[in-house]
């Protein structure tokens, strides 16, 4: 019971982390694009 509860929390935490990572990566690409346009 405790092990399965831990696994659920582990999976939820992993999903949150991967979501944050992908968001930051997308933002990173947008910033790079904007930087090339605005700061030559």
């Amino acid at each position: 019971m405790r092990m399965s509860s831990n696994l659920v929390t582990l999976i939820v935490t992993l999903v949150i982390w991967i979501g944050v990572f992908l968001f930051l990566l997308r933002l990173d690409r947008k910033v790079e694009k904007l930087k090339k346009e605005i700061i030559p």
Binding site: R2, S5, N6, L7, T9, L10, T13, L14, W17, I18, F21, L24, L25, L27, D28, V31, L34, K35, I38, I39
Partner: protein, 216 residues
Amino acid sequence: MFWKTLLLILMCCVIAAAFLLPPPQSQLGEVSRIFYFHVPVAWVAVLAFLVSFVFSISYLRRRDLIYDIKASAAARLGLLFAILATISGSIFAKSTWGSFWNWDPRETSVFILLLIYGAYFALRSAVDQQDRRAALSGVYAILAFITVPFLVFVVPRVYQSLHPTDSVIDAGFRIQMSTPVLATFLGSLLGFTLLFIWMFELDYQISRISFEKMEE
């Protein structure tokens, strides 16, 4: 890109290790695993406030607005990580002390810290003129950081607190952790520090782009 991929893998390993590798602390049980996230997040908050302090000094010495942009980016992230530390601490408090908020000395000192850095952004938004805003908030950030060691390290140890004080080092400044606990903890510290560096760089670049756009 290489170090970002490494960060992704490192944090996935840390999260998996935190839930599976070390046994739960005998008295606190499974909730003790929050230690692997709560302490590194609190560490990053203090680091961010330190970075803001250093860039504020740099601004006041050189009067270059780039340093002000960097100082505000660091303070913003410090506030974000301090909020995350407060939320993770409240979850721990609920399961060990019975309620999310007890006005324990540690909770009260973090609340005051959040108010101090919240006021930093209120001050920034209240002044329109760029140089004046940068100078005022630079002085404020220096004064604000002076309170950090007292609020984070001194107050909770001077007053009786329910918050664990020897979870990282004991009274004799010795590390009292088994190898799996120490490895997971250090991995988490490294991961959150790298995440802060990445977020700081992003926040700085976004603020700089909007600054350049305003200048045009």
